[in-house]
């Protein structure tokens, strides 16, 4: 009996090729769209998480002034190396403290030039910001103390100035300064904001202060919290220390700001989460459109199906046999469509994530949701008209218009 019903259902699918194909198509579109879009969203989120990790975890950045939009006070005093020393002594646990100042200049090698930003810092900068030296070395103490013209460059600078040549030991002209390359940083890739992280030149702090900025200011202090340390506690201690050192009265506001990458990370992941839900919304719409398509096809064929049910009942089918047949038909069509949709989604999102260079992460939950939703639409709209028709007297089903 059951076998017969399945046979009848399959025969019916074959008989109504057009209707079956359209139903399957509706489900395929819904399922494929949702899974693909959500996979892309998840990939981007993961990508950003990776980039945040590459920035160095638990990095705290201290800069003078409040970043509260335009008109913030530029009058806030900069930090000094004494501030850096005080932090090194009084705040723990830290794994590195890097004072930085920056400048920009056009770098020239032979007839090639490249504008880049120059960061003056100490060797701590590399550990704090998770930079790995690909070749060459970090700064010698004497180079830092004497403010020698040496630099370590990022891979973008290397590519633009030296092409495929080995830059170690070569000279770069930066404005009036001729500077020797002692190290090359390992490539990190694009940052989440689309900024090229590898486009940088690092020199000893003193060199930059003397030759470029012309003062003794430390524009920013970057520090890394040691493993097991609490970013919140360090931030609190820092605030207290800096307020004391900058002689701020109880009533005065901070004239410096402290940001940590955790906060930044939260902000960035927040952005991608928004993007993912946006994509999800678009996907939900396509799912809905697919669903409405299926609904339409089913409703258009209700008259024909009702008559068919009337005929089957009239020549001896039991109500439950007719229902089982139509249910089987809906389930077969819907799950076939769902499976094709999943395959298409996996193939297309694999391809898209690959070409976008973001991780390909399969979200089983979304696959299930998309599949169940579309299948439910298919089954409900395929089955319910049949349910209604099978409850009629055969003659009424036959007369249905």
């Amino acid at each position: 009996m059951f076998f017969n019903t399945v046979l009848l259902a399959l025969r019916d699918i074959r008989r109504n090729v057009m209707r079956s194909v359209l139903t399957i198509l509706g489900i395929i579109i819904g399922v494929a769209a949702v899974i693909t879009l959500v996979t892309i969203g998840n990939g981007s989120t993961a990508q950003i998480a990776n980039q945040i990790a590459s920035m160095g975890t638990n990095v705290i950045m201290v800069s003078p002034g409040q970043h509260r939009g335009p008109g913030s006070d530029d009058t806030a005093p900069s930090f000094t190396l004494q501030d850096v020393e005080a932090i090194r002594k009084e705040i723990s646990p830290l794994s590195g403290v890097a004072p930085t100042c920056s400048a920009s200049a056009t770098a020239v090698v032979g007839n090639r030039n490249w504008s880049s930003s120059i960061t003056g810092s100490s060797n701590d900068f590399f550990s704090v910001r998770n930079w790995i030296i690909e070749s060459g070395r970090i700064f010698e103490p004497i180079e830092q103390l004497a403010g020698r013209a040496v630099c370590i460059i990022g891979s973008t600078v290397q590519e633009n100035l030296f092409l495929k040549e080995d830059p170690i030991g070569r000279k770069i002209r930066l404005g009036k300064v001729s500077c020797q390359v002692v190290g090359l940083l390992k490539e990190k890739g694009q940052s989440s904001m689309g900024r090229d992280q590898d486009d940088l030149i690092i020199m000893p702090l003193l060199t930059v202060q003397r030759r470029f900025t012309g003062n003794r200011d430390v524009a920013m202090i970057q520090l890394a919290v040691a493993d097991g340390g609490s970013t919140e506690q360090v931030t609190k201690d820092l605030t207290e220390l800096l307020r004391k050192r900058r002689h701020l009265a109880e009533s005065e506001e901070d004239n410096f700001s402290i940001r940590d990458t955790k906060e930044l990370a939260a902000m960035l992941t927040g952005t991608t989460k928004t993007m993912t839900s946006l994509l999800g919304a678009v996907a939900a719409v396509s799912l809905l459109v697919g669903g409405i398509g299926i609904m339409n096809i089913m409703l258009v064929s209700v008259t024909e199906r009702t008559r068919e049910i009337g005929i089957r009942l009239a020549i001896g089918a039991f109500e439950h046999e007719v229902l089982l047949q139509f249910l089987t038909e809906s389930v077969v069509l819907s799950s076939l469509g769902g499976m094709i949709g999943i395959l298409i989604a996996l193939a297309s999102s694999f391809w898209i994530t690959k070409s976008m260079r973001i991780p390909f992460i399969i979200d089983l939950q979304i696959i299930c949701i998309a599949f169940i939703f579309s299948a439910a639409v298919g089954v409900i709209f395929g089955y319910f008209p049949a349910l209604k028709a099978a409850r009629l007297d055969p003659i009424d089903a036959l007369r249905h218009e």
């Binding site: 009942l313 001896g316 089918a317 039991f318 003659i395």
Partner: protein
């Protein structure tokens, strides 16, 4: 003659059928009393709209009467539930619709096989019986045609083949020759007479043509939803 001697297979008492409600209430049947004996061959005649099809549908358990009693072989059909009615249709009744009611886009053979499928007849036997039924209505060679590829008369013959393929206890045929030419009509009537005599299938058919009614043992005439006349067919129309 047979109707007075044999125990009635079909026994209708006061069957009415009304459509609509309130002002629009109309009666298609006003209290039909009718007995049909097992093995009888009955024709129903009457003007268009007199309730012939309505009565046939009730007899064939496709429709339910508004009031009255219907006994089929001592079982009260008017009290049966849907499942029992379906069983009755499946195992005892065959029905030829005035409007054919074949499954679209389905071959003639599959259409004819369908009632056997619901009876659980094995596939091979089913195919054999269906081919045979199509052959005896003169449709061999047309097994693979769908209703859309067949003429009205051919569709009607597929519908007849579908109704007789199960050799039902009772065959209800609503104008089975309505779309056929005279020669074909006579062939079909011969076929029905044969089924009636050889397989003892009780047949009730509706017809407008006195020539076809003449093949039957008994003619019931409907007028305005009531039985107006009930006579012995052979005596009236075939004097010899």
């Amino acid at each position: 003659m047979s109707k007075v001697t044999a125990a009635p297979l079909i026994h209708l008492r006061g069957i009415t059928k009304s459509y609509g409600l309130g002002q629009a209430l109309t009666y298609a049947l006003h209290g039909i009393d009718l007995d049909i004996a097992k093995g009888d061959f009955v024709s129903i005649m009457g003007p268009s709209g007199s309730g012939k099809s309505t009565c046939m549908n009730i007899l064939g358990c496709l429709d339910t009467a508004t009031s009255g009693q219907y006994f089929f072989s001592n079982l009260e059909v008017s009290r049966m539930d849907r499942k029992q009615l379906a069983s009755l249709r499946r195992y005892y009744l065959g029905f030829v619709f005035q409007g054919f009611n074949l499954l679209n886009r389905t071959s003639a053979l599959e259409n004819v096989e369908l009632p056997l499928m619901y009876r659980g007849t094995p596939a091979r036997q089913r195919r054999q019986l269906a081919r045979h039924a199509l052959r005896i209505v003169g449709l061999d060679g047309r097994e693979a045609h769908t209703p859309g590829e067949l003429s009205g008369g051919q569709q009607q013959r597929v519908a007849i083949a579908r109704a007789i393929v199960t050799s039902p206890a009772v065959l209800f045929a609503d104008e089975p020759t309505g779309n056929l030419d005279t020669a074909r009509s006579h062939e079909i009537m011969e076929l029905l007479v044969g089924l009636n005599q050889e397989k003892n299938i009780t047949i009730v058919m509706v017809t407008h043509e006195p020539e076809m009614a003449a093949y039957t043992n008994r003619i019931i005439r409907f007028v305005d939803g009531s039985v107006a006349e009930d006579a012995d067919g052979k005596n009236e129309h075939t004097p010899n």
